[in-house]
Symmetry: C2
């Protein structure tokens, strides 16, 4: 019975906090009306939230007859969340507040570290973020490449990081106080887009992350869909080229072997060698081509760069067709390097997708580029902590 | 307030009926213990269910100290459901009881009818089923090919039937009393397998239906997942052959153009013509090859028939790889003509799927043939009516 009372109290606190979160400011009476709780219950909960520093009285609202009510508002910086994105070789961390505002950014290169050494670098990054935080921490959220059991915080397999059955959550928790949440980077990106991105009203949403690796995160009915083995959305290893190049996974012709950042740059490099006088070749001055070089050549209208991007878009379209045909999802967001190549890449992707799936379904699909950019994973990690710890948003 | 009391009463009635349904027989006291309802409430509800003929007293259970309690049991034939499967050119209907037992089967060929004439044939089939039912009807459930808005019972598009925006539910309801539910045939098959099939314990389940058309139904967390436009699982029009044969949908190389029943038989016919002395050619005596002929040749060990089945399995495997990669679903059931070709087809499908998706995900997938056979769609249609009308199972 006591447990039940405690449970109800927690439920009501979450309800009140959600109501305050969803409004810029709001009176106790309005909270009572929205939640259906008594004014006494609301007042008690608000008092305890004020004690915790999570909300604050912010002056008086518009009077509606009687004396003007006191307004309550969330304190966005009352708690801060330490968020890590391990998807790039340059580890990326942020300190994020309760409204998803980025307060601090921190990079820490892996410099070739793998396995335990890479994990130590992750802890170093948490350390730097903890030092940069200006309020007490609500928790640590991590988006990592690989197959991740997010209920236990174990990275089952992350090929490029050399991690196998790594208990990342517990390893981080040994060094830092407070709760730690670990999830797959693409799934974090989907959560970030669904919480803070342009398609946050969509109940079903797929976010495709294209970088060194390629993956997607799937939100169904407003919830992240993990699949039976936490690997839903693992489209990077779907075969798109029969008898294609070997992939790190052991198969051939995976999407990553043609659309991954390294694969695209290798193709660009080959093109540049074939056409030493092209704008593309000139960008790198004969040296190693980077994504920045390819981007510059594309912006200058180089036909070789354009061709590479159209081809990349077509490969992306093949994967998108499968997502549309299987999930009949209308909102798909692309994040990662495709953001640099805008409509050229998107149009090539949709043109290819239309050839590969029922036209009536393709025509209803809305493909867009991420508006969050590089912070999609860290914002998703922050949303995970926010939801688990405070029931927000 | 009255509406709320009514709502609670309905909720409690469903709860009691579910409890009786899930047990062969059960006493009022046990129902009260399972549901948490008072014995008075349970007795009132049971009395009203007995009045409705849905449950019955079935003698005495084991005494536990005092006098032996009276047992309550569901009356499986108290209501009957009229179920239609419109996926084949030979329309198929059944009368099904509350336990999913098939009481009557009825076939009605379309004989080339399309559009309104085909719809009239559907109503004729309902008429025949209504005549064969031996108890009052709980409702009519229909699984139809095409894009179906199942909340409104509208068939948006069913190419082979010539239906466009056909209000099937309302058309049937004009002629017959009682509720009518219409859903996509593959989605009905998935519901049938999830309710009555061998994989009914799986919380996530995909059922692939391979016949004249090809589609799949997706059950996630125990619920049918419809997608944003009721078309989730529409894998029949995913491209599997670049520059392949034209499809009725307007695209080229769709899965249906290589794995659909007609496509497979056309290939078999061509093979038979090339090899007039083969066992395959001998089955049809030089005439039109049927699935039965192909099946016979396969059973006799004809290498041509075997090759065709292995090839069909590989095409199926390409689609399965996409389902695994995107949904990370471990349980996949195949229904339709592949049931005739057992392990040969399944093994070819898994071999191809393994080449096309992350090996760690493929290895955990359990591919099996439907154990329900031709009744999967009608059983799914019955499950739909059962759930919507009585909250069962």
């Amino acid at each position: 019975m006591k447990a039940t009372r405690q449970h109800i109290k927690e439920h009501n606190t979450t309800l009140v906090l959600q109501t305050i979160y969803q409004n810029t400011d709001i009176s106790r009476a309005e909270i009572a009306r929205y939640t259906g709780l008594t004014r006494t219950t609301v007042s008690d909960i608000v008092a305890s939230l004020i004690d915790d520093g999570l909300v604050v009285e912010v002056g008086q609202g518009e009077p509606s007859g009687g004396k003007p009510p006191i307004q309550i508002s969330l304190v966005p910086d009352a708690r801060q969340i330490l968020c890590l994105d391990l998807s790039s070789d340059n580890l990326f961390g942020t300190v994020v507040n309760l409204r998803g505002q980025i307060l601090h950014r921190q990079y820490l290169p892996l410099d070739g570290r793998i396995g335990q050494a890479a994990m130590e670098q992750v802890c170093r990054l948490v350390d730097l973020l903890a030092g940069a935080a200006t309020a007490s921490s609500l928790g640590i959220g991590i988006g990592t490449p690989g197959l991740v059991d997010s209920t236990r915080g174990i990275v089952h397999q992350a090929v490029n990081r050399g991690w196998v059955d790594l208990p990342m959550r517990d390893l981080v928790a040994q060094h830092f106080s407070g709760p730690v949440y670990v999830t797959n980077d693409s799934q974090a990106a989907a959560l970030g887009e669904h919480t803070y991105g342009s398609q946050r009203q969509a109940s079903n949403l797929v976010v495709i992350k294209v970088g060194e690796g390629i993956g997607s995160g799937i939100v169904l009915d407003g919830q992240l869909f993990p699949g039976d083995g936490f690997s839903a959305g693992e489209i990077g290893h779907l075969m798109v080229e029969y008898d294609g190049l070997p992939c790190t996974c052991g198969n051939y012709g995976c999407l990553e072997t043609v659309l991954g950042k390294r694969a695209l740059l290798a193709k660009a490099q080959a093109k540049a060698r074939q056409h030493p006088n092209s704008l593309l070749a000139q960008q790198s001055g004969g040296g190693q081509l980077s994504m920045e070089h390819l981007h510059q050549a594309y912006l200058l209208g180089d036909p070789l760069a354009n061709e590479l991007i159209v081809q990349a878009g077509a490969y992306l379209g093949a994967a998108i067709a499968n997502l549309i045909g299987i999930l009949n999802v209308r909102n798909i967001v692309i994040s990662g390097y495709p953001e640099k190549f805008g409509d050229t890449l998107l149009q090539a992707a949709m043109a290819e997708a239309r050839k590969r799936v029922l036209p009536a379904m393709a025509v209803e699909t809305h493909l867009s580029l991420s508006t969050l950019g590089e912070v999609d994973v860290v914002l998703g990690a922050s949303a995970l902590v926010l939801r688990e710890e405070l029931g927000l948003p």
